[in-house]
Symmetry: C3
Subunit: 381 residues, 3 copies
Amino acid sequence: MLPVDLPDTVREALSAPLVDQHCHGVRRDDLTRAPFETLISTGGLPAPPGTTHFDTPLGAAIRRWCAPVLDLEPHVAPTVYLARRAELGADEVNRRLLGAAGALTFLVDTGVESGELLSAAELGRFGSAVADEIIRIEQIEQDVAEVAEAALDYVDSLAEELTARAVGAVGMKTVVAHRCGLGFDPSRPARGSVLAAANRRLSEPKEPVTDPILLRHLLWTAVDVARERGLPLQVHAGFGAGGAGPHLADPSRLTGFIRALQPMGVPVVLLHCYPYHRQAAHLADVHPHVHVDVGPALTRGAAGAWRAMDELLELAPFHKQLFGSGCAGVAETCHLGAFFFRRSLGGALKTRLDAGEWSTADAARVAHMIGSGNARRVYRL
Amino acid sequence: MLPVDLPDTVREALSAPLVDQHCHGVRRDDLTRAPFETLISTGGLPAPPGTTHFDTPLGAAIRRWCAPVLDLEPHVAPTVYLARRAELGADEVNRRLLGAAGALTFLVDTGVESGELLSAAELGRFGSAVADEIIRIEQIEQDVAEVAEAALDYVDSLAEELTARAVGAVGMKTVVAHRCGLGFDPSRPARGSVLAAANRRLSEPKEPVTDPILLRHLLWTAVDVARERGLPLQVHAGFGAGGAGPHLADPSRLTGFIRALQPMGVPVVLLHCYPYHRQAAHLADVHPHVHVDVGPALTRGAAGAWRAMDELLELAPFHKQLFGSGCAGVAETCHLGAFFFRRSLGGALKTRLDAGEWSTADAARVAHMIGSGNARRVYRL
Amino acid sequence: MLPVDLPDTVREALSAPLVDQHCHGVRRDDLTRAPFETLISTGGLPAPPGTTHFDTPLGAAIRRWCAPVLDLEPHVAPTVYLARRAELGADEVNRRLLGAAGALTFLVDTGVESGELLSAAELGRFGSAVADEIIRIEQIEQDVAEVAEAALDYVDSLAEELTARAVGAVGMKTVVAHRCGLGFDPSRPARGSVLAAANRRLSEPKEPVTDPILLRHLLWTAVDVARERGLPLQVHAGFGAGGAGPHLADPSRLTGFIRALQPMGVPVVLLHCYPYHRQAAHLADVHPHVHVDVGPALTRGAAGAWRAMDELLELAPFHKQLFGSGCAGVAETCHLGAFFFRRSLGGALKTRLDAGEWSTADAARVAHMIGSGNARRVYRL
């Protein structure tokens, strides 16, 4: 599935086990067509009447590249695919598809855990990989808000809980982009304003936090812990289902916060970023502590994924790029994330080799760096 | 002109008659060089001294692909092209070029009508196609403002006129992007503020409306009518000659308004969108009622058009993409819009077939969907 | 190094001497590894521990395409490259690399001059080219601020100094994008507010000016001089090391200022622009006085540079495109800027010729226009 005529060393480097630094749980149960379609959609809604979410780049890729993993011919109809999926059962499907990703390590965002989803440990077991935890700070805030009795209690508990949860984790993640956008005031908010906002927050503790003051307080508290423990901070950027507009998730808007973090030695990992991945590449180029992973754009771009990889490679230092499938909901996204990562990077390397731009040794070395080496360094694996 | 080595079924699907869902009238008269150059320019101004608007992607494409339709060799000099155009006469030129587009149906924005331009019915007749009407709401507002005598009269007449004009139409269109940008407050404005703004408006009724309150009122009044009659709302986004900056026409900024429309079942069709077509694709991916057509970018991108198509296909569901030439001013833009649409989509399909990503049957099916099937569904043709 | 199978006339046009309209001085001294790495980085900082700035697109290109100019094999290790550089000595290295660019004329931004850097005249001498001066208005403001004794003196001296310095120059340049962004109020500021801001300015005259009022005053004073002398105004846009975020340097935000300049006949040249070069192409398409040069994106994009060129060619009129290497710090950037310009444009032309889109004569003509002809016209060389 890699481009033909790649030198053996490059092919081997691309085929080597990956560190998938951006995963979520996938459903543990058998899925009928309606929930499966909703799970493979970005918006989480059914397709309009007369249409199907299989008529998307991701849907076509599932029929093409996941079908053979389930012993089907490529391009089978959705009904055939889903019937075979049911026949094999969720465990076997998950085992096959997670295993097909060829990952050595999953770094799992545990902020979306529920009984329906495989836990981080289970993801690892099904995928024959080590599973480490990335804690999602907005989820921890939610847990704290739901039990805090007063603003002071909220503030103290938040710091304690972040510290406690960080013990077993290899990184932290924020989804602030889809709560208030990335253009927030980068300074640490004053304690008085935090306490006032916390009071308001505690009147509706079940709602996801969207108050910029509390989100900033959460971020800075997380940064304190990350600094103490040497953990990177993942920041989701670019397209996502929430928020007041995709432009508000342009990582350019994070520049002030990135600058503020620079002297503290907390690595920042920009996740997804599409279609602002050139901006992310620039931030990784200029700031020593910034890294970038365009992964989910490859998973969802599928047959058209290679261009996002190519655009990232226009400017991003090779030692700043990471791989993450963004795997979520169904195990197909894990396999396809790894598949299109290898295929896209392979295509970019082949172009450079054919044009006489890079040496074979460099191409193999860069494939290793992006596939696993950089993640090992950044997350101290 | 399609990529070679396409399977016959795909070639046939690409060659099938199109629904051109975004057209304007073209000049009915013979054109000398100066007005022709101005008509093919984006800015509507003469080229600077020592230069010519033929030295653009569109100008090169006219010499290459329209010349043979007028029995000339490819790449003829502009003077030769224009001499032949004059020799044949505007009627014959329009007949040949509109017919060469191979359209089954034109959906014509009648908001730019003037005696100089072919009417919708004439476009259809010259192009051997059915012509249906898209009403431009800002033009209807203009008509109302010029005769209204007081604010109350303005508000009542606007609703009546939109209702009356919608009877014969298959859709509505707004150019609010180039009046106040797409970042307007998405809520319906209060009646008091509308009446106050209408009073100001009536002191300068000949000017195009730019007041955000009145534009929002116009949009919401149009939405009421669209909802009642089951009509889609076309929204021009991306580059255009007006407005305070192209970034203000990024469809991302429309997210709040799109969300507000979602429960109402009014389909939204994002037109043009370039260079924010990835953002438009995302909105179409997330929101069940949003569709996207990158057409005019293909017409003007010409030899470089294929990349915009490719980028759209990275994320846009296949059932959400439409074709529109954006044809305006001269019939060349109708032929070239259809030509580069077929050529670009053909290239994208060939890439997927060659890479083993899609089946031939899927490629043919998707070509039919984007070329005409989706438009039939959305516009209930 | 050009694409194979290009027609001879196109090959000759691409190989013809260039006008490099955007250069800065390069270091005159021998460089050890640490300063060399910092000079080839965008951020001007050392690479993080365990990494090297050679692991970037630019670093790979230096090893590939500059090594042979220094008689080394392609792809040599950084240590070998730097040892050979030291062996030859800075003068010989600069002579070889600046000469390899094949430029007829350098237009040199003299606003970054220092004893460490070759002067404009020296750049020309080493590169066997004519060297003309572009004055950087923010540097002139700095010079004035450091000696002015009062606000009135500041205002008068600024106008005098700009007038005096313009005498020997062929153009002016502003880096306002990285001082306050391009979204500044486009109107000329009132004299009273300028004097008040100048008073504040004179309390910290050693700092770079960032006050939007003073930057606008500086721009408008420069425009007066440019208009008087028929000089173009270069505006850096897109990525750069400074500023509060790359999105603030989107040339879209300059639309109001561009409109204000249109009646004055002052040509505007948008520099760099990446990744907003499609926006720049649109502005050049719509406004008769706007031109665009994506040069530094080609230098830094290196093996991936061609896509930025391709994207520019989607919309930019051929008579509005210029070439500039953005050469800075080390002479490698001059050679690579010219190299990737020729290679990228050559690739774009070959694609169009192979697809039957353009004639050979047009391809050669456009190569001449972009490589030197347009610059001659705009700068009256």
